[in-house]
Point group: C2
Chain length 315, copies 2
C-alpha cells in the first residue's frame, strides 16, 4: 500500500487550492455565502463508477463530468454558477496520484466555469468511487420546466445523440470499426465530457418560456417538460440536429431511436415564441400543442415514429 494523504491532508493540499472565499479555507463546519438580491438555485447529481462512468476513465475527466452535469442543470435554469460542494467516497485502492489528477481536473473546470469549491466531505468506501456534487447558482430570472404553452416552438441547442453513440462505441467495437477515426474520436469525447451550455444563460433568461437540460434522452426529457407544463408536442424528426459524426452512424438500425433516447447530451431543450429567430447552434425542432398525449415524433412524410423506449435510466 503506497503512502496516502490523511483526511486533513486531502483537505489542505488537494482541495483547499480549488476553494473560493465562501469555503472559509475548508476549515469550518460550513460555507458562508453573502446575501444577494437574486434567487438561489440548487441542484445535485450523484455519479457512481461502473454506472455513470468507467472506473478507469482518466480521473480528471471523471471530475469534470461530475461537475459539468450540475453546471448543465444551472444553465438550463438561466442561473450563473456560485459554488459547489463535493462529497467523495473513495474506493479501497485510491492513490494520491489518482486523487491529485482528479483534483487537477476539478480545479481546471472550477476556474473555467467560475465555480469555486465551497465545501465538501471525503470518506472511504468498500464500494466503487461515488461522487456527489451539489451546485449552487444565482439568477434574477429562473426558467422553469412548467412554462411551455400551446403555440410555443420547441428548440434544442447543439447536436443530439453524440454521447449515446460514444457510449455505444465503447461497448461495440464492430460499430466503432465502421466509423472514421475523426467521428470515433468526436463521439467518444462527447460521452466522456459534457459541455454545459452556460453560454446560453442570457438567451434563456430573455426568451425561454420553459427549459431543461437533455440528460436522459431528448424524447423522454421532452415528455417530462410537457408533463410539467401540462401540454403535448409534435417534433419533426428531420429537424433534430445531428453532428457530422452522428450522421456517419445514421444508417445503423435503430440509430434515430438510440440518438433521441440515449443519455448524456447535456444540451438545452427549451420552448419560446414561435416567431423568435434562434441564433446559430440552436435549432427549432417542433411545436407545443394542447393536450396530455406524449410528444409525437414525425418523419419527413409527417408520419408518426413509434418509439419503444423514451429515455435512458440507470435503474
Amino acid at each position: 500500500m503506497p503512502i496516502r494523504y490523511t483526511e486533513d491532508e486531502i483537505i489542505a493540499r488537494v482541495f483547499a487550492p480549488i476553494a473560493g472565499p465562501a469555503a472559509l479555507g475548508l476549515k469550518d463546519d460550513a460555507a458562508l455565502l453573502a446575501p444577494t438580491a437574486e434567487s438561489t438555485v440548487a441542484t445535485v447529481d450523484v455519479l457512481v463508477a461502473g454506472v455513470h462512468f468507467f472506473p478507469d476513465d482518466p480521473p480528471a475527466l471523471i471530475a469534470k463530468k461530475a461537475l459539468r452535469v450540475n453546471l448543465s442543470d444551472l444553465a438550463a435554469k438561466g442561473a450563473e454558477p456560485v459554488g459547489f460542494l463535493l462529497s467523495l467516497a473513495l474506493p479501497a485502492d485510491w492513490t494520491n496520484d489518482w486523487l491529485e489528477a482528479f483534483a487537477a481536473g476539478l480545479a481546471e473546470d472550477a476556474r473555467a466555469y467560475a465555480i469555486p469549491l465551497i465545501g465538501g466531505d471525503t470518506t472511504a468506501t468498500p464500494g466503487p468511487l461515488t461522487i456527489s456534487i451539489t451546485a449552487l447558482g444565482r439568477t434574477p430570472g429562473f426558467v422553469p420546466r412548467t412554462g411551455a404553452k400551446p403555440g410555443d416552438a420547441i428548440y434544442v441547442s447543439g447536436t443530439i445523440g453524440d454521447a449515446a453513440l460514444g457510449l455505444a462505441l465503447r461497448r461495440d467495437p464492430a460499430l466503432a470499426a465502421r466509423l472514421s477515426p475523426q467521428a470515433r474520436g468526436y463521439l467518444l469525447d462527447r460521452y466522456l465530457l459534457p459541455r454545459p451550455r452556460l453560454d446560453l444563460v442570457p438567451l434563456l433568461r430573455a426568451h425561454a418560456s420553459a427549459a431543461m437540460d437533455v440528460s436522459d434522452g431528448l424524447a423522454g426529457d421532452l415528455a417530462k417538460l410537457c408533463r410539467a407544463s401540462r401540454v403535448s408536442a409534435v417534433v419533426e424528426a428531420p429537424l433534430v440536429p445531428l453532428s457530422p459524426a452522428a450522421l456517419e452512424a445514421s444508417l445503423a438500425p435503430g440509430f434515430f431511436e438510440a440518438a433521441i433516447s440515449g443519455g448524456d447530451d447535456y444540451e438545452i431543450l427549451f420552448t419560446a415564441d414561435a416567431n423568435w429567430t434562434p441564433p446559430q447552434d440552436v435549432f427549432r425542432i417542433g411545436a407545443i400543442i394542447a393536450g396530455t398525449a406524449p410528444p409525437q415524433f414525425r418523419d419527413a412524410t409527417k408520419k408518426p415514429i413509434n418509439l419503444a423506449k423514451m429515455s435512458f435510466s440507470h435503474f
Copy 2:
C-alpha cells in the same frame, strides 16, 4: 426480485411528500430559493453503510442520522435550516419497503426540524448504500471557527462520549454486559441518533466567539478550533460533562480517552466570554490561552493527561 419503484415513482411517491415549495415538486432541474437579507450557510456530509452506520440499522434511523449530522453543522454556525438536497445510491438489494421506511424517517425529521427536501438524485450502485446530504441554512450572524481569543472560556453542550461508548457496546458484548440495561439503551441510542443542537442557535449567535460541532471527538475537534483561531487551550478533564450512563462505564481502562476522542457526539463546542454564565446543559470546561501548542487536558490535580489519540477518523 420483488417489484420495485421506477426512478420516476421514487421521486413522485416516496420523496415528493417530503419536499418543500423550493423543490418545485421535484419536477424541475433545480431548486429555487427566494432571496433573503441573511447569509446562506451550506454544508455536506456523506455516510456509507458499513463505515458510518451498520447496514442493518433501521432505515428510518439511517435517514435521520444522515440528515441530523448536517443539522448539527448548521446549528454550530448559528444557522436556521432552510432545506436539504439528498443524493442516494441504492445497493442492488434495495426494496420498496426499505425505501419507504427510510423516507418515513426522513419525513419525520424534515417536519420536526423544519427543513424540507428541496432536491435530490437517486441512482443504483453495485456497492453499499451511500447517502450524501447537503443542507442549506440562513443566519444573520455566522459563528466561525476562527474567533476564539485568549481569555475566552471554553464551553460544551450536553454530554461527551456517549455515542463512542454506544459504538463500543455494539462491538464488545463483554463491555455491554457490565452496564445496566438503562445505560446500555441510552448509549446505543446516542450512537444511532444524533440530536442536533438547533436549540442553541440563539445562544450561539448572541454569545459565541467561535463554535463547531463535536463530530470527531472533543479533543481533536478542540484542536481544530484552536488551529483555526491560532490559539491554544487548557481543559479541566473533571469538568467535561458525562452522562450517568457514561459514568457507569467510566472505570473501564482507557475510558476518558475514548470518550474525548470518539466520534458522533454532535454536541456544540464553543468559546465565549469567561464572565458569561451558561444555561443548564451547557458546561464550562476550560480556557483559551495564547500559543500554538495542542490543547492540554488536565486531571483533578492539574497534571497534564497524555492523549495517544486525539480524534476519530473514517480513513
